[in-house]
């Protein structure tokens, strides 16, 4: 649907439209390495879709918070300028549920975003 201005959007529609396709991920808050939680396999699929987990590395996604997921979260946090904790903390989940471009952030495990860059320091 195309809206020519905001006032043409029906109010009820606005209220019903806040659900994100990925808002189920919000219940994963606080998960960390070693946990097994329903929904983690879907989160792994999300990370695979955007290039953070290679299709070759995992044949079947489980609900285990394993090393692969922890590494994917850390790389994602670097790319989005979040604190790198490797955990599903609130700022990371808030970023994950935001609508976004469908193109991957990483292709063949490489990224031109923060995670693919070396930090350089210059002594003065």
């Amino acid at each position: 649907t195309f809206y020519t201005n905001v006032s043409s959007v029906p109010p009820l529609h606005l209220l019903n439209a806040t659900r994100s396709a990925w808002e189920t991920f919000e219940k994963l808050a606080g998960c960390h390495a070693g946990n097994k939680t329903d929904g983690l396999s879907k989160l792994k699929q999300y990370f695979r879709r955007f290039g953070y987990i290679s299709s070759a590395s995992v044949a079947n996604f489980t609900d285990d918070f394993d090393d692969v997921l922890e590494s994917a979260i850390s790389t994602y946090q670097k790319n989005f300028n979040l604190e790198v904790t490797g955990k599903l903390d609130a700022p990371t989940l808030q970023q994950i549920v935001k609508p976004r471009c469908g193109n991957p952030d990483m292709i063949d495990g490489a990224s031109g975003m923060n995670a693919g860059r070396k930090l350089r320091a210059v002594a003065r």
Binding site: T1, S20, A21, N81, G112, M113, N114
Partner: protein, 187 residues
Amino acid sequence: YSFFPGKPQWPKRNRDLSYAFVPQNNLTDEVKQVFARAFARWAEVTPLNFTRSESLFRADIVIGFFSGDHGDGEPFDGPMGTLAHASSPPTGMFHLDGDEDWLISGEEMNRRILPVTSVVDLESVAVHEIGHLLGLGHSSVEDAIMYPAISGGHRKVELAKDDIEGIQHLYGDGGSSRRNETSGGAE
């Protein structure tokens, strides 16, 4: 800024690119104008020119709205989630999620409405996807057009320094800096 692997770009002999809309979408001129504005933003800082074509087969870039599985292996997921995707040069495939609610007014949204809306500013998404069509990947710079995420209701259409540096690395500035100097408008 970043590039696709191998830094693909449109060939030097093809600096005048044409774009066409999938006719089945029956888009109004008002909607098509949003894309024209988005293309113009990139044309301003590069030697590239963009013109609308009525021929789907002769166009360099094809734009269409699709729902769910639309045959390219990257199905859309309904409202919000993923909004659009585009190919690297020189493929020219630009797909938008037909299940989204798109705002085409070009106006900022009232901050009180922002938290409760999933209406997405079409021009913001179009400017971002055109960046992909021209060869840019995603950027970690939050103010950049090529930052991958955008919240419902937000409008971000101005190219940032990061976007301009990235695209001019691929195509040069097309004399845009000279134009600014002669017009005395450079700040």
